[in-house]
């Protein structure tokens, strides 16, 4: 038997193991091949920075005319954005009324911000979103409260992109859930119908769904009734997204253990109560990452409306740089548009990560 009588002194770890040097050794230079890789990557990063920074910042023209941008040695022509910003953001919306879509976007961003704060979640927030829909209708169309009427054929730019994606997501979400439940239903007719719908829509490219929506939907209506182009595109997006969401939700439903269904059955819950209270809350939580994936791709896919002639954010930018004097500065315009898309997609991604973390924190052991 041995007994410890003296205790070893508590010492600081060797300097090569901690701090910046320790970190570098452990992560970047922990083997010969990794050291080489580190140096190569570092060289590449330096090369890219020295190529981009002078163009994008040091020699860039921030304001001015096309003449200034074409001066020898001039870098990026950010002036094009200042010049064309309003057309890019709002499309053909009546110029003097463009404060209205701007206000609408502001309201939207405000509510998105509020929705990111967990503390504010509740009935009030839901009603705020419902109210937002009416606010958008009033602001965008006008015709009431002394606002001049603006036909929706003039809508364009960022409000159009936001509206199409948000409406598609909000409407497709419940449809996707119903389709997923239908696909796992015991009723052969319901199941067959849902499978057929999902496979049909998933089996064709979005562009052809949009074409079909704009060409075929009018055929279903009696002559004289015209369904608006915007609405047709909206229906197309919603149908497309709902098929994808259905598969995402189905993955979640399949991940729920059989015991959960049995426990709900044994307690006497009916089918809808079982799904709504037990199965879906767990399944939807599991599929947040792929679900947000679908949302993000829908947001970006709205740019495909260019093929049926709607002026969304990307198309508005494209039209804006068609102006002959500015034509050669399309790269700057596309970078600007890419940054706007990125800002929204990145926000969605971050929001979903936080949501996941919050929800799992509550229930984990």
């Amino acid at each position: 038997m041995t007994v410890q009588t003296t205790s070893a002194p508590i010492e600081k770890p060797p300097v090569t193991e901690v701090g910046a040097i320790g970190w570098l050794r452990a992560n970047l230079f922990n083997s010969k091949s990794n050291s080489v890789l580190t140096i190569v990557c570092f060289a590449f990063i330096v090369y890219v920075i020295q190529a981009v920074v002078p163009w994008a910042f040091l020699n860039a023209v921030w304001t001015g005319t096309p003449k200034d941008c074409q001066a020898p040695g001039a870098g990026a022509c950010w002036a094009v954005i200042g010049e064309k910003n309003r057309f890019t953001l709002f499309g053909r919306y009546t110029y003097d009324e463009q404060w209205r879509p701007a206000l609408a976007i502001g309201l939207f961003l405000l509510l998105v911000g509020a929705s990111c704060i967990r503390r504010l979640w509740g009935k009030a927030l839901i009603w705020a979103w419902v109210g937002q829909v009416f606010m958008w209708a009033i602001l965008m169309w006008g015709g009431v409260l002394g606002l001049t009427f603006v036909n929706h054929e003039q809508w364009g730019g960022l409000p159009l992109t936001l509206m199409m994606s948000v409406v598609a997501i909000v409407v497709a979400y419940p449809i996707g859930i119903v389709l997923a439940l239908g696909r796992r239903s015991d009723m052969p007719a319901a199941r067959g119908l849902c499978v057929a719908y999902i496979e049909l829509i998933r089996g064709v490219p979005l562009i052809s769904v949009l074409f079909m929506a704009s060409v075929m939907i009018p055929l279903f209506f009696p002559e004289g009734v015209s369904v608006d182009k915007l609405l047709r595109a909206q229906i197309g997006f919603t149908l497309f997204l709902s098929a994808y969401l259905a598969e995402v939700v189905r993955a979640g439903l399949q991940a729920i253990p059989k015991g959960q269904y049995e426990a709900a059955d044994a307690l006497g819950l009916g089918y809808w109560a079982k799904m709504r209270l037990i199965v879906l809350p767990q399944a939807l939580r599991l599929v947040i990452p792929p679900m947000v994936n679908s949302f993000i791709s829908t947001f970006k896919d709205t740019s495909l409306v260019i093929i049926i002639g709607l002026v969304d954010l990307l198309n508005a930018g494209k039209i804006a740089v068609n102006d002959p004097p500015w034509r050669s500065f399309y790269v700057e315009m596309y970078i600007y548009i890419a940054l706007i898309y990125f800002a929204f997609c990145f926000t969605m991604s971050k929001f979903s990560q936080r949501l996941e973390r919050d929800l799992s924190k509550a229930t984990s052991r």
């Binding site: 253990p257 015991g259 059955d265 052991r365």
Partner: protein
């Protein structure tokens, strides 16, 4: 036979029949899992069902609340026959509570919400009342202090006690236990069995699939041995354990009692 046993027997003989299973057959595909099973359970009777795995004992009790469908024969629970009629199934499920081997608590709801869910949505009780009932049963299973935790934060024994409380909140007339202690660490088996014993003392009709032979000896009115889809032997515990009749019962008992 002790006078208490004798009295208990007479009391049960006089009690009405609560569950009647007659000539029940069930197949999983080609596999004949229940073969002509007959069983009558009196009100307040405590039955322990044992047998080797695959003998159909779990399937039998799962047929009683229609988690499994039988293909031939009749099952009558508390006067209602189990048919494909969804209304009947729902009526019976309200009367019959079930406790599972793997607890099957709802992980996204707190312990209290697990308990109030069915009373609120099935019995349409107001939330306050459902919560009062839930707290009463959580006290009964001795974990009222865990009411606001999530199932994932509890030990196995605590989870199973919550599962029992959740069933009791629907005030069932019959409780089915499907190997309630098989998934528990050994030191947690007792706390669950204690709750089951106290339920038995209150006169609950109970059907337990379990290998806890100590529980069977002290609590059961009748022990049933099943093998290959049939009821091979049934008897009062003393007789069952001390004087088994069939060879298969003897073999089974020798396997589980001498290790």
């Amino acid at each position: 036979m002790t006078p208490q046993r004798q009295a208990r027997r007479e009391q049960l003989a006089a009690a009405p029949i609560n569950i009647e299973v007659s000539h029940v057959h069930k197949w999983y595909g080609e596999f004949h899992v229940l073969r002509d099973v007959n069983l009558a359970v009196s009100k307040g009777e405590r039955i322990v069902i044992c047998g080797p795995s695959g003998s159909g004992k779990s399937t039998l009790i799962r047929c009683i609340n229609r988690l499994e469908e039988h293909q031939k024969g009749n099952i009558i629970v508390d006067g209602t026959e189990l048919t494909n009629d969804v209304k009947n199934i729902e009526v019976i499920r309200r009367e019959v509570g079930m406790v599972f081997q793997s607890f099957n608590l709802f992980p996204h709801l707190t312990v209290l919400e697990n308990c109030t869910l069915a009373p609120i949505w099935v019995k349409k009780l107001p939330k306050k009342e459902a919560e009062a009932i839930a707290m009463k049963y959580l006290e009964r299973v001795r974990i009222p202090d865990q009411a606001l935790k999530y199932p994932g934060q509890l030990s196995g024994g605590q989870q199973q006690r919550v599962a029992i409380a959740r069933s009791l909140c629907m005030s069932p007339k019959i409780m089915l236990f499907d190997e309630p202690t098989s998934a528990l660490d050994p030191e947690m088996v007792k706390e669950v069995l204690d709750v089951m014993i106290s339920l038995a003392e209150d006169g609950m009709t109970m059907l337990c699939v379990t290998h806890e032979m100590g529980f069977a000896k002290s609590v059961a009115d009748r022990v049933i041995f099943m093998d290959r889809g049939e009821i091979i032997e049934q008897n009062v515990p003393d007789e069952f354990f001390n004087n088994p009749q069939s060879e298969r019962t003897k073999l089974f008992l020798s396997q589980i009692l001498n290790h």
